[in-house]
């Protein structure tokens, strides 16, 4: 990038411009996260509150207690399920989007952006109306005698997957669309000139070159599921517990901040590792 300055005002100028933002990050991000890490190592006793000692028992409780280990496993399984759903539905849509031109692309793009600009609470509320025992889906299926009794879609994992899949699908579509658009059209011409046909072109050119978009889309959806709080709370209520909902429960209802902090730190670490791994993956691809 071109730099402003034939004559830079002062070499300290950019730091002065950055100062308010860095101060904000120090006070509202770095400080609080450090404190969170420290508290996750403290003890807790009901009635006494936090005990300022150093220990790892909050982490060992989360990883070794069968109840909490099931929640850890369940959260990651939910992430995998939602990611699979989004990939399955997102790829055809991204494929169509990347091929569309002009008005058609504008309309498709609008349909995909519309959910992104609508708050998650509102969209989840819509799913509650659709998925309930007297909701539209069950009502319709019952009326046409396709089922004998209402399907249980609310207050279980099925409903959470359906709703979260919808909430996170735009990220998958936009990320795959980007990498499909980046494919040089001359590759397709070359392949056709060499006699390759539709499916072969798709599997040998389209799919491998779309891989970076697929990977980053999957990471966005997976981490989005791990951190999702609103949709699991509203759709599953107290029945299904995931990491984010037990963090909330520990922090707000049970007031066991040390244990809540340990779970929060584990979640944070899992997500940062995933992002770092993706970054490594995309850098390796770029250099090779």
């Amino acid at each position: 990038m071109q730099s402003w300055s034939a004559k830079p005002p002062r070499s300290l100028a950019p730091w002065a411009l950055l100062a308010p933002n860095l101060l904000l990050l120090l006070l509202c991000l770095a400080g609080p996260l450090l404190l969170l890490g420290r508290i996750s190592l403290m003890g807790y006793e009901a009635g006494h509150g936090m005990i300022p000692i150093w220990q790892l028992s909050n982490y060992s409780k989360f990883f070794f207690d069968p109840f909490y280990r099931a929640i850890l496993g369940g959260t990651f399984l939910l992430g995998a399920e939602v990611t699979a759903l989004c990939l399955l539905l997102g790829f055809p849509l991204a494929f169509a989007l990347s091929r569309a031109r002009g008005l058609q692309r504008a309309i498709l793009y609008f349909c995909i952006l519309m959910p992104l600009l609508t708050s998650t609470v509102v969209r989840t509320f819509g799913w509650m109306i659709l998925l309930g025992n007297n909701g539209f889906i069950n009502h319709t299926l019952l009326r046409f005698h396709l089922i004998a009794s209402p399907l249980h879609l609310m207050y279980n994992v099925t409903g959470v997957i359906i709703a979260l899949g919808e909430v996170l699908l735009p990220f998958m579509v936009l990320s795959i669309d980007t990498s499909l658009l980046n494919i040089n059209p001359s590759y397709y011409e070359a392949a056709r000139n060499l006699g390759a046909r539709g499916p072969r072109i798709f599997f040998r050119i389209t799919l491998p070159l779309a891989l970076p978009g697929i990977v980053s889309g999957c990471v966005l959806v997976f981490t989005g599921t791990l951190s999702a709080f609103v949709t699991p709370t509203l759709i599953a209520g107290a029945r299904i517990k995931v990491m984010s909902t037990i963090i909330y429960q520990q922090a707000m209802a049970l007031l066991d901040w040390p244990f809540g902090s340990a779970i929060a730190f584990t979640l944070l670490l899992a997500i940062l590792i995933l992002f770092a791994a993706t970054l490594r993956f995309s850098e390796r691809r770029r250099t090779s």
Partner: protein
């Protein structure tokens, strides 16, 4: 094959739009709880929402909180974007990653971190605390949009002004700021929407006196069903689409996302 794909994509788009369509439709239905498809057209839920002091109060708090946070975030973010685009800085990539990082963290983790920190300094359940948290969360969006718009225009315009003898501040106010203004406005609009819709962090920090609109909606749909929630949601959907889509398509085109 092509027709099959088209049909499949139609179904996927319907899945994507379904909850939004349902919320909008139930806002106009006459039954006492939101059912789809709605029977009999009515506007009473919009009146009901407007007559509900809890919801109206929440709307006021949300509007005030988002406005103050947006003004702060837009100022802070614009300065940062200028520093990143216009100056040579050691470790620029790392700095910009750091500045954009608040969007990467799970909201519930940031919420708990801010809760334990603000508790120590008495900022929980205060307007100041909420403004600080929101400013942290929305500044990255401003930085991204302003950087995108600054990168678009030619730095030689600034050089020309300086060569003609303009001082640094004159160059800034007469050249840089006007040219970056569309990006700054877009960033402010986007930041405002993000702040207005924020739920998780606000939920942990707000307390009973500062219930924002998303918190009220969250509590209502959890414990009762009331079509006036559909009505207020419909208003939000319409306003956000009207101001958000132009910003999105102009600046957050897929390559910036």
């Amino acid at each position: 094959m092509r027709i099959l794909l088209r049909f499949l994509n139609g179904a996927i788009l319907l899945y994507l739009a379904a909850p939004i369509l349902v919320v909008v439709a139930t806002a106009f239905g006459s039954s006492a709880y939101p059912i789809f498809p709605p029977q009999n057209f009515t506007l009473q839920w919009f009146h009901q929402f407007w007559g509900n002091p809890e919801l109206r109060d929440a709307l006021r708090i949300s509007a005030l909180l988002s406005s103050v946070s947006t003004i702060l975030a837009t100022s802070i973010g614009t300065l940062s974007a200028l520093a990143l685009v216009r100056y040579r800085l050691p470790g620029k990539t790392a700095i910009s990653a750091l500045l954009l990082s608040p969007i990467l963290f799970p909201a519930i983790v940031l919420a708990l971190a801010l809760l334990v920190a603000f508790q120590r300094v008495g900022l929980t359940q205060t307007f100041t605390g909420l403004v600080a948290a929101h400013t942290l969360l929305i500044t990255p969006f401003v930085i991204r949009l302003v950087m995108a718009s600054l990168a678009e225009f030619d730095p030689s315009l600034e050089e020309a002004a300086q060569n003609l003898g303009a001082t640094w501040s004159r160059t800034f106010f007469r050249i840089t700021l006007p040219l970056a203004l569309p990006g700054i406005l877009a960033g402010a609009v986007f930041a405002f929407i993000m702040s207005f819709d924020e739920l998780v962090v606000t939920l942990l920090l707000a307390g009973p006196e500062l219930q924002t609109l998303p918190i009220r909606i969250f509590n209502y749909v959890q414990y009762s069903s009331d079509p006036s929630i559909s009505a207020i949601s419909t208003c939000l959907i319409v306003v956000w689409l009207a101001i958000g889509i132009p910003v999105y398509t102009r600046f957050l085109s897929v390559k910036h996302l």
